[in-house]
Structure formats: C-alpha cells, structure tokens
Symmetry: C2
Subunit: 146 residues, 2 copies
DNA sequence: TTGTGTTGTAACTATCTTTGTTACAATTAG
DNA sequence: CTAATTGTAACAAAGATAGTTACAACACAA
C-alpha cells in the first residue's frame, strides 16, 4: 500500500502559497487549479495543516498563509499532519497470533523493535528535509525553464 | 495508510517454519493455526515468498521450507515479496498537477528526489535486518519464558 | 490404482480508505 | 445587504485488504 497523495498535495499547496503569496489571494479554488483537484480536497488538507499549526486559513474573507518559517517546517511535520496513522504506527501487525504457540505469543515482541527501527529511519530522513529546501528547489527549476 | 499485515504475517510464517522444521510438517493449516488466520491467506503469502525464492512449497505432499540461509534473507526481501508497491514507489504522487502553473509543472521534479531519499532510508534500514536476527530474538524470548 | 491429504487458485463478500462530488450553513469584507 | 469564501456533512465510486468456500491438480502411501 502506498502512502496517500495527501502528502504530495499538501507540499504542493504549501509551495504554491509561498510562491504566489504576493501575487494572488490563495483561495481553495486557486490552489485547486494548480493541484488539479476539487477545491474541497484542498480545504480538507488545509484544515489538517491548520490543526498542525502549519498554516492559517481566513474564513469568510478567504486565503491561506504559512504560519511558520519555511525552514522550521519539515516533511515529517507535513506527513504527520495529513497522514492518518493508526497509533502512529506505520506497520499493521496482524491482530491475533495464537498465544498457545511459542512463536505466536512472542513474535510481536521480537518484531516490533525491528519495525520501530525502520519507521524511525524513515521519520528521521523526513525530519531532515525542510519545506524551505523543497520550495527553493522548485523555484530553481522554474528559473531554469527560461 | 499503514503497510499491510502481509509483512508481519510473512515474518511470522518464516519464523514458524524455522522453529518447527524438525517437529512438525509445515502445512498451511499448521501455520494458519499459529498466525490465526484462514489457511488460504497463508497459501497466498507462501506463493509470494516462493516467487521471490525465499521458500519452497511442496505441492501435493505438503509442507514448506525456507530456501536460503536465514542471514541471507532481509526484511526488505520479505517486504518486496509480499507488498504490492506500485512501480516500487512508496509515495503516491497526485496525478495531474496543472502544467500551466509554474509550481504545478515543477513540483514533481522537485519533490521526487526528496521522496526517494526517504524511501531509500527506509529500505536501507530494512536491508540491515535479517530473518536470522528476528528468529534468534524470538527464540531468546521463548527461552526467557521459562 | 485408489484414497487421503495438501496445494494452487478462482470466485465471491465485507469492510475500509482514498478520492471525488454536491450542497449548504457560517463567516467576513466591502 | 451582497458576494465570496470557508468548514463540513453527506454521499458515491474505486481500489485494497482480509476473509471465506469450493474445487481441480498433485503427490504419496497403502
């Protein structure tokens, strides 16, 4: 199973907000135009980012802005904001190993530690990547188009 | 979205095969008893492990065995065997960013590199964990029960 | 060679998540 | 007040997971 596109959409949204903050009002409609999805999808993700303190959204008047310095927002922050991870666990352990089997009643303990290492490795890498980097890379690519 | 329980079930199966290889015939029924799922689930996962060269399954006579040394089988091998990853990509990128928007037409390039780093970090960690380790940890836990 | 146990696999179902959609009350600015 | 916009409910479609029954193909032993 893949990690949902909410993560890439969220990054896209944030990239747009920063890039166009001086030229356009950043409404869900405007952002939906760039991402190419229904505005409600954008609003839902903006709500998740807002709950995580990453953006502010102006109800009524409209428009979104980024609430923190770009280099203080990591890919992990965005991931945690939009991905609904069950107890924060990346791996889904099968529910009822047989407690009457020696392996069945110990596999959870033995394997959990390893799975935590894997999840940790992934999260550490995500933590090392900032929104500032991503946006700066995007803008470099835009400049190189000309 | 979580990674499916096929991974933990597969490890459980392999752990059982090694632990009980001298005492029992390792049929899908026997394994289903320890994992506590329907035997067909076991057979399906055994087929995936077989396709990856990790186990041999005896049609007709029945029983499964591990096809390689335990320290030559990594968690990544098992993960790749049972997890159906679309083009091998962990992250699902939203399909149609607007090519008429500067951000829309460059976000893919800018973000893909970062996502690859994250996936790589996860896979490297998985590659460093062997089935030998996991089984040895399980058997240590079993011994400590007494 | 016949019977028994087992695998390989198809077919179907239920449930969950994602993604997309319409609709509309609540809110804000002009 | 009006117009634009957000926040959110309600629903539907599509896809994946997980579970089940059923059965042909197969291997071995008596």
């Amino acid at each position: 199973m893949q990690i949902s596109s909410r993560l890439t959409i969220a990054v896209h949204i944030l990239d747009c907000i920063d890039t166009f903050k001086d030229s356009y009002k950043l409404t869900s409609d405007f952002l939906a135009g760039s991402v190419n999805v229904n505005p409600v999808i954008i609003r839902r993700i903006l709500q998740q980012l807002k709950a995580a303190g990453i953006v502010n959204v102006a109800r009524g008047s409209g428009g979104a802005e980024i609430a923190k310095p770009l280099d203080k927002i990591t890919l992990l922050d965005i991931y945690n904001a939009v991905e609904c991870i069950d107890n924060g666990e990346l791996f889904h352990f099968h529910e009822n190993p047989n407690p009457n089997c020696p392996v069945g009643r110990n596999i959870h303990n033995a394997l959990d530690k390893k799975l935590e290492l894997v999840q940790k490795a992934m999260e550490e890498e995500m933590k090392s990547i900032t929104l500032a980097e991503i946006i700066s890379d995007t803008q470099k690519l835009i400049r190189e188009e000309n």
